[in-house]
Symmetry: C2
Subunit: 204 residues, 2 copies
Amino acid sequence: MDKNYRFEPELMTDLINSLKRLPGIGIRSARRIAYHLLQHDLKGASILSSSLTKAVENLRNCKGCNGFTEYDLCYICSNQLRDKKLLCIVETPTDQNSLESSHSYKGLYYILMGRVSPLEGIGPKELSFHRVLDRAQDGIVEEVIIATSFTAEGETTAQFLIDMFSNKDIKTTRLARGVPAGSELEYIDTGTIAWALLERKQVG
Amino acid sequence: MDKNYRFEPELMTDLINSLKRLPGIGIRSARRIAYHLLQHDLKGASILSSSLTKAVENLRNCKGCNGFTEYDLCYICSNQLRDKKLLCIVETPTDQNSLESSHSYKGLYYILMGRVSPLEGIGPKELSFHRVLDRAQDGIVEEVIIATSFTAEGETTAQFLIDMFSNKDIKTTRLARGVPAGSELEYIDTGTIAWALLERKQVG
Ligand SMILES: [Zn+2]
Ligand SMILES: [Zn+2]
């Protein structure tokens, strides 16, 4: 329930509404942030405005992995030392980072930027799974490593991927279930992740 | 603990850092918000950037009440129907809104934009109490109504104000303690606030 701020300046209302649009920010937080910025951190407000503009104008999805980059290919995809025969599919850049931090994977990635979630109306189509398939069928990739989270939605996502690759000439593996069921990948320590990568098993 | 994102585009890191600077936003939320904006809500990112810029450039503190306004005087301060003999001191615009919503106050306001908090190093000086005093001594104000929260910090703030006005020729009152102790003003229903205004008692 939001009280009616009839006397609030329109520019303040606009700012609060645009903050409220952010995920996880309710009306109270939005208002608190807006007041804080205007009263105590004008510089922070300007910096945020400018970094938003720069990010929107310059960042795009990497043609190789779908991650964020300023160029056509990101830092990892353009690294000639990476093993192009391995393609690891993750849900988010944060999950990708967890894998990188384990220092036990030298292949490439594909970032779904989400997970299948029937309740939210997010299916393979919304996540553009056809692009994952195109990417994996570049004639170089020999193995797809599915590294979605071991949550209900992560499992559903994995199953869709397994089905999609089932009749393709590509080895499909999945991280070993060494991580506790029901947990998010990004919260797992890197040692466990390294172990799960090593013990990955073929599923398709 | 934040993992090292060595391969993250600098513009993304900048955006995440500027989001992390917002009150109540940790590194995980900042990253989640940044990814969401870039992947799913570019328009929201642009709107936020532009509303931040407009707010920073056009909003200022009202010369009358210290609230936010696009003009020298805000909507309330420039309303000739308000009773200029009453000055109600509140901590935040949200508290002011709570009082306005009770439809039982027709005087003017002064918004401290904070509260005395020794632990955070915020005292009368940081809140520019001298400006409250100047404002109240305009020769028109006859009564100052202290409407700080009934929390420990709100009580401390009230006491500083009471002391400041103690030897001045201005009646000083406080909202009746009709509201439960330990609660924030902004969470109180308007009926209780109306009653507390009516029952306000002189304290200085
Ligand atoms: Zn890439
Ligand atoms: Zn004003």
